[in-house]
């Protein structure tokens, strides 16, 4: 028996995949047939994406029907609701990880010096995840201090190892 949250997730995914499949089919249909180059019509660029799109539409439809039959459109009962809440702290950790990683890779990298960006990211990651509100001031200081040391070491080591040893260009 699959949990209701997974059935609901399947329903939403099926809708997304169905839309994606239809979009792919439409785009494939709109692709040029290259008649001016007098190519064999059986080799037009849209033929394979179009077929793949149709297969995706078929599979998404099966997933959609299956999820509806399994009760994906029904609202959850109270007990399922409580069970579905899960561990709030794990979602907080996930959100923080995603936010930090995206801010670093999409925001800082390429816009700020790579060593500085890496140092800031590692410092923020370690300090925020090891921060314990119940700790004494000295402990807080130690956590932040060690995070800064690790950040500096990683930023320097990455620059030296990859640029000098592996001859890799850094972003």
């Amino acid at each position: 028996m699959r949990p209701h949250s997974l059935i609901r997730a399947d329903l939403v995914t099926a809708a997304v995949l169905l839309s994606l499949g239809l979009f792919v089919v439409a785009e494939a249909w709109r692709m040029p047939r290259l008649e001016e180059r007098q190519i064999n019509p059986l080799t037009v660029p849209g033929i394979v994406p179009g077929l793949l799109g149709l297969v995706l539409v078929a599979m998404a439809s099966v997933l959609l029907i299956r999820s509806i039959r399994a009760g994906g459109l029904r609202s959850r009962s109270d007990t399922e609701e409580a069970a579905g809440e899960g561990d709030g702290s794990s979602w907080r950790r996930l959100g923080l990880t995603a936010a930090l990683c995206l801010a670093y890779a999409a925001g800082l990298v390429g816009h700020v010096d790579f060593r500085l960006a890496t140092g800031l990211f590692v410092f923020a990651f370690v300090a925020l995840f090891e921060w314990n509100p119940g700790q004494s001031l000295i402990r807080h200081g130690r956590t932040v201090g060690w995070a800064a040391v690790q950040a500096a070491l990683v930023a320097l080591a990455v620059a030296v190892v990859f640029q000098e040893l592996f001859l890799v260009r850094l972003p």
Binding site: N40, L56, L63, A98, A106, E130
Partner: protein, 505 residues
């Protein structure tokens, strides 16, 4: 036979340089550490290392990647035994018996057995590679466009089926999503840019390495940080070196698991995790001590570790002979071979027969390295497992950013990694397997070109697609796999089989 041995000796001699043992040792050790750390997989390790070694000489670069691959699949047994968390998905079956052994104070011995089993499994696999790869390459010379088209379809379907046995539909969907990803960018016949929407970076297509670093690196970091922290079961280790009597007692299990693991490895996109499970199931069926399985059975532990390690050379057999990967890390290795100018495929035994035996030699070096390192540095690896994830994961993510950028020097590839990381995490949370997606990205181009070429050859006639002998075997097998994944058909077949058995009694 003698000819094969001579070629192997030549291959070993080819690597006679001081850089070889140095590279073998550090790459295998790094592989073991990556495999042992939950959240870092063999695929991610090989993908990252591909980006960092692409300026090296081809032979040494591929040697490093193979050592990393073998090391990581073996290294995952450490965390399976000590943390009850498989370091890589390939070690899930190992934790069933390895962890109970650790709980009874025999963690060291379990690690020693896992080391021996992994080494023996790799040896069985590499022997099969040396014997069967030339045969398969010769057989593959009969493959034309029709066969390669069906092989691509078969690969995606069997990979989807075997990596998602509970819900094959999700496996198929993952595979076809991979095929669609491969459609992005300029196609190989008329150079038309598909699905690029005027974005110049998309015209070049989605790189396999950035996509894999995202799906196996960033997605894993998100998963590890979401999960609860794992506790080490053993803080000290007992005797590590396995007794010869124990190894001899399980010789049949090792032989069977080695062959089963290799065979599963050969199946496109299935890989080490399924190799371990199938070997484990086969060993339990044949065992005299079935009731011990899952409670700390040495036989179960050895079957799982032999199976996953044998699947590594197994997965390289189709890489070398058909240019189709047997597993996700093998897909990266295939990409790395192309980067380094090696052209695997049916012609390999004509164009570069020595390369096949060099791969066998590389696997042999990696086997020696895992045996030596695995038995010698058990205590050091315990320390590695104590590194808190809060300190480790930001460093891993930094590597995930550097890796995709390293090959093309484009920030676009970093963004591809991010997008695939988020999508990979979401799909994994909803129980979609990743291996068919990877295989789909690799096979997309093969499927596309060969379908269109075949249609031109037959002028639109579909007959040869279904009537040529090898094509027929491939499409009939594919159709049966899909048919039997439908619950109603499976149930009807079960009822029919029961009725026939009933009549027979």
């Amino acid at each position: 036979m003698l000819d094969g041995l001579v070629q192997l000796a030549d291959a070993v001699a080819h690597f006679a340089a001081w850089s070889t043992p140095f590279n073998v040792l550090w790459a295998t050790l790094l592989g073991i550490v990556i495999g042992a750390l939950p959240g870092l997989t063999a695929t991610m390790g090989v993908a990252l290392m591909t980006t960092l070694t692409y300026r090296m000489a081809p032979d040494q670069a591929i040697l490093i990647l193979i050592c990393m691959y073998v090391g990581a699949i073996y290294g995952g047994s450490r965390s399976a035994i000590l943390l009850n968390i498989p370091g890589t998905p390939a070690n899930a079956a190992t934790s069933l018996d390895g962890h109970p052994l650790a709980q009874t104070g025999r963690a060291g011995y379990a690690m020693g057995l896992a080391t021996s089993a992994s080494a023996l499994g790799t040896i069985v696999g590499l022997l099969c590679l040396a014997v069967f790869a030339p045969m398969l390459a010769e057989f593959a010379l009969d493959f034309g466009s029709f066969e390669f088209f069906w092989l691509a379809v078969f690969g995606v379907v069997i990979s989807g089926q075997m990596t998602s046995l509970e819900d094959p539909l999700k496996g198929y969907i993952a595979g076809f999503l991979g095929l669609l990803v491969a459609m992005i960018g300029q196609e190989g016949i008329h150079a038309h840019a598909r699905f690029s929407f005027g974005v110049a970076d998309l015209t070049g297509g989605i790189g396999l390495i950035p996509a894999l670093v995202g799906a196996f690196g960033f997605a894993e970091i998100l998963t590890v940080m979401k999960n609860r922290r794992a506790e080490l079961t053993a803080s000290h280790v007992d005797r590590v070196l396995p007794r010869t009597a124990d190894l001899w007692r399980y010789k049949r299990t090792v032989g069977r698991s080695g062959l089963v693991g290799t065979f599963v490895g050969v199946i496109p996109g299935v890989g080490e995790d399924i190799g371990a499970w199938v070997s484990y199931a086969a060993a339990r069926r044949a065992s005299k001590e079935k009731e011990q399985f899952g409670k700390g059975s040495m036989e179960g532990l050895m079957a799982a570790e032999t199976g996953n390690s044998a699947a590594v050379p197994g997965a390289l057999i189709p890489v070398l002979t058909l240019a189709i990967p047997g597993s996700a890390p093998a897909a990266v290795l295939l990409a790395a071979m192309f980067i380094h100018g090696v052209r695997p495929g049916p012609l390999i035994m004509f164009e570069a027969p020595e390369f096949v035996f060099r791969v066998v030699a590389m696997l042999l070096f990696a086997t020696i390295a895992i045996t030596v390192l695995g038995l010698a540095i058990t205590r050091v690896l315990l320390l590695v497992l104590r590194v808190p994830r809060e300190k480790l994961m930001p460093v891993v993510f930094v590597l995930c950013v550097i890796g995709p950028y390293a090959i093309t020097n484009r920030l676009f590839d970093v963004y591809v990694m991010l997008v695939f990381g988020v999508i990979g995490f979401a799909l994994r949370e909803m129980k979609y397997p990743m291996a068919p997606l990877v295989l789909g990205i690799i096979l997309g181009d093969i499927l596309d070109k060969n379908l269109r070429r075949s249609l031109v050859l037959t002028d639109g006639d579909l007959g040869p697609f279904f009537l040529r002998p090898i094509s027929m075997v491939l499409w009939v097998t594919t159709a049966l796999i899909i048919l039997f994944s439908i619950p109603a058909v499976k149930a009807a077949a079960g009822r029919l089989a029961a009725r026939i058995r009933g009549r027979g009694d």
